[in-house]
Point group: C2
Chain length 186, copies 2
Amino acid sequence: MSQIFRKHIEEITPITDSEFEYVMSHFTRKKLKKHQFLVQSGEYVKNDHFVLNGLLKAYYANDEGKEHILQFAMEDWWVTDYQAYFKKVEANVYIDCLEDCEVLCLSLQNRDKLCADLQKIEHFFRVKSNFGYVALQRRILSLLDQDAKGRYEELVSLYPSLLQRVPKTVLASYLGVSRETLSRLS
Amino acid sequence: MSQIFRKHIEEITPITDSEFEYVMSHFTRKKLKKHQFLVQSGEYVKNDHFVLNGLLKAYYANDEGKEHILQFAMEDWWVTDYQAYFKKVEANVYIDCLEDCEVLCLSLQNRDKLCADLQKIEHFFRVKSNFGYVALQRRILSLLDQDAKGRYEELVSLYPSLLQRVPKTVLASYLGVSRETLSRLS
DNA sequence: CGCGCGATTGAGTAATTTCAAATCTAGTGG
DNA sequence: CCACTAGATTTGAAATTACTCAATCGCGCG
């Protein structure tokens, strides 16, 4: 099972058996059922999470109770409230399991320790973060440049499996349109 | 002048004189006049850029000739087309000087070399990238949750100097609204 | 003075939202 | 197997918001 994780690291940097074992010793494993929360707004956020299987949504709920999805997370993805995690402030998002999930948890302390001990791991996280930054820029461009239909098509072409796994209502709140508008597209 | 840059690094990690000198030897300095381009769509992007002074905009121009600003960059900020830079593909944005500028240029090769040689620097870039990721998430949330007025107020409260330095037309294309709509706010 | 750029204003149009109701679907318990 | 229910999706119609296109205004500078 954690071979998934090893493969994930080795897409960026090779790693020996003993190094991998050392890395793994800094993670804890956690199982969650559908509808359980990994993070709740107002809490402090101890861990970053690598998704072994399942699907989650990270969303912000505004004063009127409207939800805006910041990111999905499925197999191979990382998810937490990064603002809260890195800056040690209270979370302002919820992270909710859309399916039963299994994740690997990494505290900030252990992350920093791993990065200090193994430059490979610091390199890994640097490269990951760079790619994440690029992905967010693409999403911003999509929000600025495309209409609802264009954004929807971009999303399903990037992540076709989402269409099978989540209700359209949820996609709408990722795309920034009402569910009625999304329903009327095409 | 490069003291600005040293201070910038030391906000993340302390660094010795000789280390700093070594780091600096991997950068080149470049001056640009207002209206000059640092990056143009279609080119390959050799360098990331640290802004010593001046102000730039990085924008995407779509088929209808509409501009969407991906980011501004002023003193202390980094800017390039990160997708093009990291993935070695052609740029799809323009980066344009809104004022006379002076920047420090870092090629990907030199960046990787510095990171490999000095773990401090790899750490620096990891932390920077993490913070950048958080900032982009905040902007996405702003685009999803706030209306034009809310986004405008958030922008001017975060970067009040922008208001003095760039025409409102340009702010509008950062915020994702027409200049007429922005003009009608308040 | 007059040019050019940016900001503003007006009017009509297009897109999206909201609210409401109807329909569809999958899962549950009898 | 069927009826029922909750959630999801669709549809309609009115209201809102933002956009486009066009004209005007204001100001700094050669």
